[in-house]
């Protein structure tokens, strides 16, 4: 049907959407799988990056960002960028407070070296009984 409006919408096929759906299912299952292993700090990074990729998939395909004008993409991006600004700027205050300790402890001549070997002061945690949580 020759629609005279210049917005000739390319209508993707059903298989296209179902394919994305399956990909999302696989990714969700993967997230749960990875989360069951104890990777310490890595757990969060993996969980968030997989969730981010899933979100990107939904936005790119389901929300038609693929052939959306760049302005719409900019609107989507601005939301994410300003959220990142908020997280980073508030996070830097808490990071500075916990890591750098405010002046009363700054500049003390004590060897506050985070990764200095703990001078036999504490046995490696493994030696102690298994940290039963």
């Amino acid at each position: 049907m020759a629609s005279h409006s210049q917005h000739e919408h390319h209508v993707p096929s059903v298989a296209h959407y179902v394919g994305v759906f399956l990909a999302l299912m696989v990714l969700t299952a993967a997230t749960v799988g990875v989360a069951s292993m104890d990777l310490g700090r890595l757990n969060t990074i993996v969980a968030l990056s997989v969730a981010g990729f899933k979100a990107f998939l939904v936005m790119y395909i389901f929300m038609e960002l693929r052939h959306a004008p760049s302005l719409t993409r900019l609107a989507a991006l601005s939301g994410v960028v300003f959220l990142a600004i908020m997280l980073i700027m508030i996070g830097q205050d808490y990071g500075a407070r916990t890591v750098l300790h405010d002046p009363p402890n700054w500049g003390k001549t004590l060897p506050i070296d985070q990764n200095a070997p703990a001078a036999a002061a504490t046995p490696a945690p493994a030696a102690a009984p298994a940290p039963a949580h």
Partner: protein
């Protein structure tokens, strides 16, 4: 006479008086329903104009209560409780219900579609929804007032607002929430209209600077307001349901509430100052009869202010237990955000160089704006300086600074814009000399009110004090005297504007002989603004065609 001889040209006989169009948007339809259910952006402007003027009066009333109380050192006019509720209602009424919607909802609503060459905003029904959100918020705010008011200040800091304050905090929070939602909807409308509905030929750098300012303001309204909405909801939940978001006993941190609150509330003060900067560019161009100098820089400085304003809010927390290093980061960024404002002032002055300046009322307001905005701006530098902010934080120096910006600059330019576009909105001319008198009166009254507060501030008089040590009394009396003069200054325009509605002469399409799409349509304009979609094929403000950059 000056060295450059101004050519003496025989002035042609005055043209016959302009005739008022028979059919325009005010008398297109009549009846209360046609006003309350209108989707015409011009009628919604009138609805907003009336509602925010009412809140300006309410806020002003509470301001007078505060100033009367502060004449005497010991709090004797009212109890501490009433005083706290007065300054809180003053803050909430002025910030959420007058300053945030002041120019975007009135002049912005009226002019953005016309300056874009469009028949109406992109989403007229959402525009009406925005006014109804404002009204719902207003009902909550008035309910708060009648339920005894709230004494947390307009900042709602926890843990006071969530656990210790008694008063209608939840209703005040709902009021602010709905006012914020109305501001979001206005911003959304402007962004889509400016992007998608500009007339053919109206490229970005042919847009009037007022549109640039409204675009920048909308960015803040869209990306900032929701954060204060969620913060107020969290405070409401902590107070209502005992969800201890910021409760130290659960490991919560009241400073996080301040972070989230000021993440919006500092960009909010740029929502209050960016539209006035846009109006200022229009006034300078029209009354110097010349294109604004450095048009590109002034246009982009609006957007720069809008973006940088999101990373500077930490200067409200210098003494609040925020880390010293975060304080330094926020301090240097706060200095950075001051630069675009300075660029604007310098460019306006450069526009005046060798211009032909006429002194109608709007231009007097413009000159007043430049003076007060400069003082407001430089005192902002004091508070951005870490070393001084320790001493000056939460003192009257801060009160004076933000009043110089909000009242001195924002309301001054709002008044200037109102005087400039009143003939276009109502089709009537007001008495120009009275306009100039009111500008001078407000300028003098304002300085008399708030300049002494700078001195009080450095002396260390804290904010929100119901009673204060005796040595501060003289300066407080000067401030209260100035406040009365200021009140008179604000009442005067209300009088001659209303008078002009009934007795004013008809203003033709272009009373000030200015350039701009809004001056090409009759005043008051027809409902559909343009009978034929205008085609723009020249630079903005092309008083001297061919000059260009």
């Amino acid at each position: 006479m000056s060295a450059t001889a101004i050519p003496r040209v025989h002035t042609p006989p005055p043209p016959d008086p302009p005739v008022r169009p028979a059919k325009h948007y005010i008398n297109a339809t009549s009846g209360l329903a046609s006003w309350l259910l209108t989707v015409d952006h011009k009628r919604i402007t009138i609805l907003y104009l009336i509602s925010i003027t009412i809140f300006f009066a309410i806020g002003g009333f509470f301001a007078m209560l505060v100033r009367l109380e502060l004449i005497t050192p010991q709090g004797d006019l009212m109890t501490a409780e009433t005083y706290n509720r007065s300054f809180s209602m003053h803050g909430i009424a002025m910030v959420f219900f007058f300053l945030i919607p002041s120019i975007p909802a009135t002049l912005g609503n009226f002019l953005v579609p016309i300056m874009c060459g469009a028949r109406d905003l992109a989403f007229p029904k959402i525009n009406l929804l925005s006014w109804y959100c404002f009204i719902v918020g207003a009902v909550f705010a008035l309910a708060t007032a009648f339920m005894g008011g709230v004494d947390t200040g307009w900042t709602f800091y926890t843990p006071y607002s969530s656990t210790y304050a008694n008063g209608a905090v939840l209703t005040a929070i709902l009021g602010a929430f709905f006012a914020g939602f109305s501001s979001i909807l206005t911003g959304l409308n402007f962004i889509v209209t400016i992007h998608k509905m500009r007339a053919p030929g109206l490229t970005w750098f042919r847009m009037p600077l007022f549109l640039w300012a409204m675009y920048a303001t909308s960015i803040i309204q869209i990306l900032g307001t929701p954060v204060v909405a969620i913060t107020l909801i969290l405070v409401g939940l902590e107070r209502g349901l005992g969800f201890g978001f910021f409760d130290p006993k659960l490991g919560g941190d009241p400073i996080l509430m301040q972070h989230l609150f000021w993440f919006y509330s500092h960009p909010a003060v740029y929502v209050m100052i960016l539209p006035p900067l846009g109006v200022m560019s229009e006034l300078t161009a029209a009354f110097c009869r010349r294109r604004v100098y450095g048009y590109h820089f002034v246009a982009l400085s609006s957007v720069a202010i809008a973006v940088i304003s999101f990373i500077v809010w930490g200067h409200h927390l210098f003494t609040s237990g925020q880390s010293v290093y975060a304080g330094m980061v926020f301090s240097v960024l706060t200095f950075l955000v001051g630069i675009p404002s300075a660029i604007k002032v310098f460019n306006w002055m450069a526009t005046m160089f060798k211009a032909s300046i006429s002194f109608e009322a709007p231009m007097i307001y413009a000159f007043g704006f430049i003076g007060l905005f400069t003082i407001g701006g430089v005192t902002g530098l004091f508070l951005a300086t870490l070393g001084l902010d320790i001493h000056m934080h939460d003192t009257y120096f801060v009160v004076a600074h933000f009043h110089y910006i909000m009242v001195g600059s924002a309301i001054f330019s709002y008044m200037g814009g109102l005087h400039y576009w009143w003939p276009k909105i109502t089709g009537k001319l007001y008495n120009d000399t009275l306009g100039c008198i009111s500008a001078v009166l407000i300028f003098l009254g304002f300085n008399a009110t708030f300049f002494p507060q700078f001195i009080l501030g450095y002396m260390g008089m804290p904010r929100r004090y119901h009673a204060y040590p005796a040595e501060f009394q003289f300066l407080n009396i000067c401030s209260s005297l100035g406040a009365t003069l200021l009140a008179v200054g604000y009442v005067l325009p209300a009088i001659y504007f209303t008078w002009s509605l009934f007795k004013g002469k008809d203003a033709g399409p272009n009373p000030f002989k200015a350039k701009g799409l809004e001056w090409e349509i009759p005043s008051p304009p027809p409902t559909e603004n343009f009978t034929k979609v205008p085609v723009v094929n020249s630079e903005p403000y092309d008083y001297a065609p061919g000059a260009g950059h």
